[in-house]
């Protein structure tokens, strides 16, 4: 109990710090007298679009989070925009919960000379937090339902994630690990999903989803993101995704899948909220479909899925143990 109190108090401290985002979003002069412009706006840009924390209340161990129920309820009250064909318009920027909340709230010293990024905190509290995170990721109530003969293998891969995770070495995470779309562009016959990948191994991740009634193209090569076709069922866009390669994981937790993976992704817009329902079927590795759901709240500050970063891995050969984040 004392351990969990410690975790809670660390979390409380971090949450309190995080609550200061509006103040932190002011301009900070890092070095007024410097020859180059040193003014930075702490956590500017995307964090304005989703300034609240998220959680994993159903215990999926996934990195994309559920926003607070209050934020979802408030955003649902907005009117739902529709396309000229009468279908809900999914177009918009759907930054996941916590998108900007994890901003590390940089802090300037009183003399204005030292800027603390507030990251890489060291010491026993960080260790306690790390233990809590790993426990959460490995003991959640809604982890992928692996066949009994694969449970030990998945656990072993998770424990050796720093050596075994393809994304660790800059391979694409693929779908569905890439998460919900950061930005959606809806047209009458296609949907385009764009993914912000600045904190990812991906570059230029996108999916084009045909919604004109065509079926899957059996001649397409298998891919990281699969072949997606969509149709409307009432106000819900139902997307069927097949034809995956089998070398991506579903999360950072050693969660393998096979080339038989079939994903059904549903998006339902109510006001400024999209409910994103995912069902992953893979009879070669799962005993039943792995089903989870997240609410996406529309970003109203005009954000776009703009950021990506090159990926060059330097560290693999220098790791001396299997410690994970």
């Amino acid at each position: 109990m004392k351990g969990s109190l410690l975790v809670y108090s660390v979390a409380a401290t971090m949450a309190m710090a995080s609550l200061s985002i509006p103040a932190a979003a002011q301009n900070h002069k890092v070095s007024p007298g410097a020859p180059r412009a040193k003014e930075v706006q702490v956590g500017y840009g995307l964090d304005k679009d989703q300034p609240f924390a998220g959680a994993d209340p159903d215990g999926t161990g996934l990195p994309f989070k559920e926003p607070p129920a209050e934020a979802v309820a408030a955003a649902k009250k907005a009117p739902t925009p529709h396309m000229i064909d009468g279908h809900p318009d999914l177009t918009g920027f759907w930054a996941p919960a916590g998108w900007g909340y994890a901003v590390t709230q940089g802090k300037l010293s009183t003399d204005g000379k030292t800027y603390y990024t507030q990251r890489q905190a060291e010491g026993p509290n960080q260790t306690a937090q790390k233990v809590a995170e790993l426990k959460h990721r490995t003991e959640g109530a809604n982890l992928p339902p692996y066949r009994p003969e694969l449970v030990a293998k998945v656990k072993d891969l998770a424990e050796h994630q720093s050596k075994m995770d393809p994304a660790f070495y800059c391979a694409p995470k693929g779908f569905p690990r890439v998460g919900p779309p950061t930005e959606v562009i809806e047209n009458p016959k296609t949907l385009v999903f764009l993914y912000d990948t600045v904190n990812s191994s991906e570059q230029n991740a996108f999916r084009v989803i045909s919604t004109d009634g065509r079926g899957h193209d059996p001649t397409l090569n298998p891919s990281y993101y699969g072949d997606s076709i969509g149709h409307w069922e009432g106000n819900t866009m139902v997307i069927d995704v097949t034809n995956f390669v089998d070398d991506t994981w579903l999360s950072q937790n050693g969660t393998i899948h096979s080339d038989a993976m079939h994903v059904i992704e549903k998006l339902t817009r109510e006001g400024n909220v999209v409910t994103w329902d995912v069902s992953i079927e893979d009879p070669k590795v799962f005993t039943k479909p792995w089903v989870f759901s997240r609410h996406l709240v529309h970003g109203l500050a005009g954000g776009h899925a703009l950021e990506e970063a090159p990926c060059v891995e330097h560290d693999g050969n220098h790791l001396v143990n299997t410690d994970r984040n």
Binding site: Y8, A55, A102, N199, C311, D315
Partner: protein, 139 residues
């Protein structure tokens, strides 16, 4: 769910969320945070890439001998959101870097703890040590 529990739940979840967005290695898998190196020199290359930014520096000793260092920092997305931009670093900058040493014995590699520029301003990749000390006091 009563209010008290709900508040605790979200506070705890916010803590979990503060975990790094990039699922790369733990600091402790590569660096020894009890040992640091101090390097003074000239920036030769800024590599603003995932999973970690790399800053390269040439240090010259009293005899004029040059040693090249590679210093690792956080992921570019996290750094930007923490207010640290690529435009704040230029090839040719004279800097002093304090970095955590490697565990595998690689000498010219480190994890940036702080970087001080010629005009005296410093960027610390982390929290104010006084705050860390306070947070780590036993209950």
């Amino acid at each position: 769910m009563n209010d008290k529990f709900r508040i605790c739940f979200w506070v705890a979840m916010a803590g979990l969320l503060a975990a790094p967005l990039w699922a790369h290695h733990s600091i402790s898998a590569e660096f020894d945070t009890s040992r640091t190196l101090n390097v003074k020199g000239t920036l030769t290359k800024i590599e603003w890439v995932n999973p970690h930014v790399y800053i390269y520096l040439d240090a010259k000793d009293e005899k004029g001998e040059v040693t090249a260092y590679a210093l690792e920092a956080g992921p570019p997305g996290n750094l930007r959101r923490a207010g640290v931009l690529k435009t704040m670093f230029s090839v040719g900058d004279q800097v002093t870097i304090e970095a955590y040493a490697t565990k595998d014995g690689t000498k010219n590699l480190g994890l940036v703890k702080s970087i001080t520029f010629a005009d005296g301003h410093t960027i610390v990749m982390g929290r104010d040590p006084k705050e860390v000390e306070k947070a780590n006091q036993p209950e």
